[in-house]
Amino acid sequence: MLELIRHEIDRLRARGATYVDARWVPFEQTNALLMWNGNLKTNTAARESGIGIRVLHKGAWGFSASSDLNSLPALFDSAFDQAQTASERLIFPVRLADKEAIQATFESPCQVNPFEVPLSDKVTFLRQMDELLNQAGVLQRVADLTFIRKKILFFDSEGSQIEKLITEAFASLQVSGQDAQGVTQERKFSLGRNGAHTRGWESIDSHLFTQHADRIVTELNQVLVAGECPKEDRSVILLPGIMYLQTHETIGHPLELDRILGYELAYAGGSFVTLDDFGTLQYGSQKLTVRADATLPNTPGSFGYDDDGVPCQNTVLIEKGILVGAITGRQMVEEANARAGRKIFAGSGGCSRATSFYRVPIERMTNINVDPGDDGSLEDIVAQTEKGIILDGDRSWSIGSNREQFHFATEIGWLVEDGRVTDVVKNATYKSDTLPFWNSLSAVGDASTWEVAYVPNCGKGQPNQIMQLGHGIPVCRFDKVRIGE
């Protein structure tokens, strides 16, 4: 098979293709289980395999994919023909940033392959969690597990050959109940990276989940009897359960370079960021430093080599509030530098990924992390807050098409008055404009508050692609934010 793929790559090069790559996925397995109120509603396993071919010809991309490997030459020719057609409407011929030809392997850390764990063990875990969640006040309880394991072999016409074996584990608990007004309230816990955990079955730690099961039930019951979130301006203190999403939506997505260059305009939207902004835009306060760190061990945002064959990197995006970098792949950095008339980007940031063999690689977040600060623990930040609200748990999120403004709803809020936590409130929301919001960042928690949250389902692109990634985030405080609307 390897020889056949190499042969076809060489053949298309001989036909005149500038560049050819192939991603052969011999297997991608998924296993998803979901228990809802004691019923195992989802018990699904899946397996797929196939190959995706990308051809650059006359400055345009063509792509073709199939699960049928019996007709490889036709598949490669189809991708070539697609590129040929695409080249008939071309403004800015695609050029790829330089990279080394790499022969390498990568395996994500996994002690126990979840696909070798008996189904009965997974069901037992879910049943235990379901029993723990089945307490007074809880009307709906959900526990779920999702595992992914895939092998990807990447070949390109520049001489690269990379083999990756990626294992992912996602798990969450959720409870909901109804308050006196008949409004459903909910709390949830999702598995993130705690300490040096790996990403196999061993990361499904019953002790950890038991602790959080008790916590979310307790907090749900507090919300069910809480008063309404006030409608006013306050300092908001974001815990990791919402800070990850704030980072994701208003730093991660706006800094995808394909978005900045207008490649998502017909669908997901653009970005308020322009190429002129790099090196000058005061994105946030001086307390804000953000990086795209795909070298962070043991998260879905670290994958060894991207689907352009570029090694994972740790790239600073925002340094002390100033915008300095973006989420980049080989194509976009060349176009951005050319359009800007200056070298903004030294090379690919290694962020080009495809969700499956039948999708084309695009710029995706890796681990978009906010560096911990020096404002102490959560307790320290609360003690220094005169009138605030602590928020946690994503309930809804909606962002302007250029990521310029947003509205978030959270599962729970704790009011802070004169440095003390007072009341729990329900139906908490907050909204703002992106740049004023990040520039109002007034406190960044230290390493004790820093966690890595996993995102199993980031959607982007047409055809749409679901990607797994991570966010390392501390507790952060923002001032004068509108809440309760």
């Binding site: 228990m35 019923n39 195992l40 509603k41 018990n43 699904t44 396993a45 397996r47 797929e48 196939g50 345009a60 991309w61 063509g62 792509f63 073709s64 199939s66 699960s67 049928d68 189809s78 697609q82 590129a83 057609t85 080249s87 008939e88 409407r89 071309l90 403004i91 008996p118 189904l119 009965s120 069901v123 009307l139 709906q140 109804q178 409004v183 459903t184 260059l261 207008g262 490649y263 305009l265 017909a266 669908y267 653009g270 809804s396 909606s398 962002i399 302007g400 098409s401 250029n402 310029e404 509205h407 139906n427 909204k431 404009d433 959607g459 047409q462 055809p463 749409n464 679901i466 609307e485």
Partner: protein
Amino acid sequence: VKDKILETLTSLRTYSREKGYLASLLYHEEDSSLMRFANSAVSLNTREHLFRLSITAYADRKRATFDLVTRLDNLDEMKAGIDIAAEMVQHSQPLTYQPTVPLLGDTFVDDSSCDDTLAKLGGQDKLHFFNSMVHDLETSDLRLSGIFSSGANTVALTNTRSDHALYFQTSDAQITVVLAHANLKWEVIAEQSAQQVSDLDSQDLRRQLAFLVERYQDEPAQQLPLGRYSIVFGPAATAEMLSVLDWIGFDGGLMKRGYSFLTEDQVGQRVFSDRFTLIDDPSRPETFPFRVDLTGIPRQAYSIFQDGIFQGFVWQQDDADEFGKQPTGHTVPHKSLVLQGGHEEIASLDELAGLPRNEDILYIPFLHYMNIVNPSRGIITASSRFGALLLKKDGSLFVPYNVRLTQSLLDIFGDRVEWLSRETIAYNTSQSYGARNPTALIVPKFVKVNDLEISHSNPSY
């Protein structure tokens, strides 16, 4: 190919029966192609031809599913998949209710919605369509983005209880064309849904774009004051809100789980405007319909809201099994929702803009990134995008920066509805996540709702 698919399912059913399994077999085939435009170039030109088989095995109250991407001629792989599902179910946990494996009373084949010409459109056809549409509109400052997605979609199923099978095939296309200003960051959009090739009309798209481009080029954008507005929603906005209503409104399973703003007590009550009549009508080919649901229940026009009166929740089979309800023929990948038109004789944006008016009207064609703030109260939030206009009462119009609307669907579709246009249109809501599932709703081209609050107003794009 149809015969081959049905033969394959028959072979797999026979295999399952011989092994003593109770199983259902769901086949999905998509032949998809997508041409994507960005910055006035073809940025992506793809083709994917994928075969999927989903096998669900049952044992008493236990259930397990194995999915595979395969090939139609790979019987051995598919049989192995059946064995895996049968093995999985042994280790599953019994449900608290008995899941139904339906007895299919008849073989049902419906490929009447498949137009081969549309399904097989090539890259050159798409390129020509786009080129003719934006000719003279596109400039160095005004750049083309968009997609032309098309393909054929086949769903077929059977199970070991039945000697029959169901087969559905449809063709579809979804076209989005955006003209975006390179520096000023505004964008205008036109969209089209097609079930057959004669539905394609590049010049209609061109007219829509030309009208908006002229306004956006001539009128500098302004920030709208916060406050309450009379709003006319375009088809994309209306279809998006109806899609949310489909989810947190009249779905029986979600209602039972606490994620609906409607209750069983409200059945038979008026909850929306008496101008609001919503039906699920599989006789409309533009909606890529399922005329029989996946359990074999024949589907006919099904009233959900009649003159604002809530007719009842819809129940798919599994929820009906769990909550002791009667399934309503809604075990389908998507419904065929039709919001009936009203009496307002407005068929185009041009006509809307020219309508005499005694108040300012905000036209919002498209709601971006809609999310549900509070399902129990039906509160949604979203931003305007793509060609909003403020139609001043003095007959002038100006271009507003985007605004945010956070409001309950009970208000949006309630007594604040002033009128719906007589003319309706199929709006394509297909998502390109996972397997192809062409979906469209039929909605009035324009819906006017009064007294809605704008809670956030952008000072720029």
